[in-house]
């Protein structure tokens, strides 16, 4: 919450929600393990490549398709071109995590704005905006992302935008529901009585109070987005060579299943572990923060 917010907003009750949630989250062992593992993966992905003497796109033709070993310095083995799987897995992780965070941020900004506006204005605006969401809901978006990637080149920026742009529908629905109940509260009424403009109320009073719900769905959206990116890269429509992501590595590995299973196993384990951790953390946060307490 910004420092500029009026003092009324800083009731002790508003803060105890977060303290409560934090205590609840700490008691959830799966969520804590998930968070710690995610931290470890993030550190490894950022610092790990420095521990290897190989670059992610360097080919070691003396050692193509060799298994994991300490002596050669290829901790996870090499692929058919002699590129180091350890370094490539971590580089792929950078891309996957980056896509997860940036695309989620895109979907977050669209979804929160859309949902808060629809919920706050209500009436016909709300009915129309939510009708649009309903219509879009029935469309097979994965196919549109594939079309976008094929026809407008496979750039990483497009991946961010395309994946973010298809994932805001859930966020919009949830935010709208919360906004509908928030706008009945006294502090919104007080702001309205003082003549604060609608968009200022949404920005200063509604959105900050949505943080709890939004935090939960951000944690659940990130793994979904990572999954979509991996799906695209798996089909060869995502990140392009020599850069890589976990999905592209799994694709490479699935082609060399019989001769070099390590090419599949290491990226697959990293991808699955990351998705696991985000899901556990998200579930834990939902238990701790979601007022509906599903």
């Amino acid at each position: 919450m910004s420092a500029a917010a009026p003092p009324l907003e800083r009731e002790p009750a508003g803060r105890s929600l977060w303290i409560d949630a934090w205590a609840k989250l700490k008691r959830n062992r799966a969520a804590v393990v998930g968070a710690v593992l995610l931290g470890a993966i993030a550190v490894l992905v950022i610092l790990g490549p420095a521990a290897s003497r190989y670059a992610f796109d360097a080919t070691d033709f003396a050692n193509t398709s060799i298994g994991p070993s300490w002596s050669t310095g290829h901790f996870f083995g090499t692929d058919t071109l002699g590129r180091d799987i350890f370094v490539r897995t971590l580089y792929g992780g950078r891309i996957s995590l980056l896509v997860g965070i940036v695309a989620t941020a895109v979907s977050l900004s669209i979804g929160v704005t859309y949902g808060a506006v629809a919920g706050y204005f209500g009436g016909r605006v709300d009915a129309l905006m939510m009708r649009i969401v309903d219509i879009l809901y029935a469309l097979p978006f994965m196919f549109f992302v594939i079309l976008l990637m094929v026809f407008f080149g496979r750039s990483i920026v497009l991946i961010f935008v395309a994946i973010g742009a298809i994932n805001w529908l859930d966020m919009a629905r949830i935010v709208r529901g919360q906004t509908l109940s928030l706008k009945q509260r006294e502090f919104v009424e007080a702001a309205q009585a003082q003549g604060v403009a609608a968009f200022a109320i949404i920005r200063r009073h509604i959105v900050p109070n949505l943080l709890g719900v939004v935090a939960v769905y951000v944690t659940l959206t990130i793994p979904h987005v990572i999954l979509v990116e991996s799906f695209l890269s798996f089909l060869g429509l995502g990140v392009q060579e020599p850069m890589t992501s976990w999905g592209a590595l799994v694709n490479d590995g699935s082609r060399e299943l019989q001769s070099a299973p390590w090419m599949l196993i290491f990226p697959a384990v990293f991808l699955a572990t990351t998705l696991f951790c985000f899901n556990f953390l998200g579930d834990g946060m939902r238990d701790a923060l979601d007022p509906k307490d599903r």
Partner: protein, 307 residues
Amino acid sequence: MLSYTIRRLLGAIPTLLILIGFAFFLIRAAPGGPFDRERTLLPEIEANLRAAYHLDEPLYQQFGRYVWRLLHFDFGPSFQYRDYTVTELITAGFPVSLTLGLCAIVVAFLVGVTAGCIAALRQNSRIDHGVMAVAMTGISIPNFVMAPLLVLVFAVTLRWLPAGGLGDGSIRNLVLPVTSLALPQIAYLSRLTRGSMIEVLRSNFVRTARAQGLPAWQIVVRHALKPALLPVVSYLGPATAAVITGSVVIEQIFGVPGLGRYFVAGALNRDYTLVMGVVVFYGVLIIAFNILVDLAYAWLDPKVRYR
């Protein structure tokens, strides 16, 4: 019920138009055309080609022509597979994809609902925790990761099942693709069933049934199952969409000659009509299935009809 059905069908029209419009204008706005080859064509030949495919008309006319043809189940000729129409390619690939998808949905529904019910009846027991842990695994491991891992274990190492292709079309060839497609849906469905079943088991009518001394299985099958399946039924719509999307990669991995493979090949070759045809075809399928699911829901829960 009839008026609800009509309302629901009418409601699908804007969705359909947006679907077709999206697909159409997205591809037309894209850089690069179907006649871009290494060798540049003579301008007259290219002009003739464009005229033959009506690419020289204004966009709105092309769109109108396209919608008109769609109404007659005519998706136009494929740009890549010269001698085939898109309709022919769809009729060739779809039965295979349909078999795969239907098997996956049925397996997912049966296994998921059963597992969810068992977990709910033994809430917080070891079985419950076990089922939920497996479900979390199914949600977290994407099917394109699961599929090669299954191949590695069951085809390459144990040699129990074939690694790919449809072979003679026997069940053995379907086991691995169907399992990889169904696993994530089993996970979602068992979690959903467990949640709603636990809620239903706490309700008053179940307590009454218990008080009357009915055996547990009878309470579940006769009384609790129907209300508990409501959220599961409404999830079948998204589940179908997910299975269709998943079949694109699964067909790729297992070398199954279905519609998904045509789609990827068409997308990589800028085969406008084929890609558009598949997107529209699958889109209509998903929309139609969503309507069916909604109708089933309204039939199960009369409250919905009068909203």
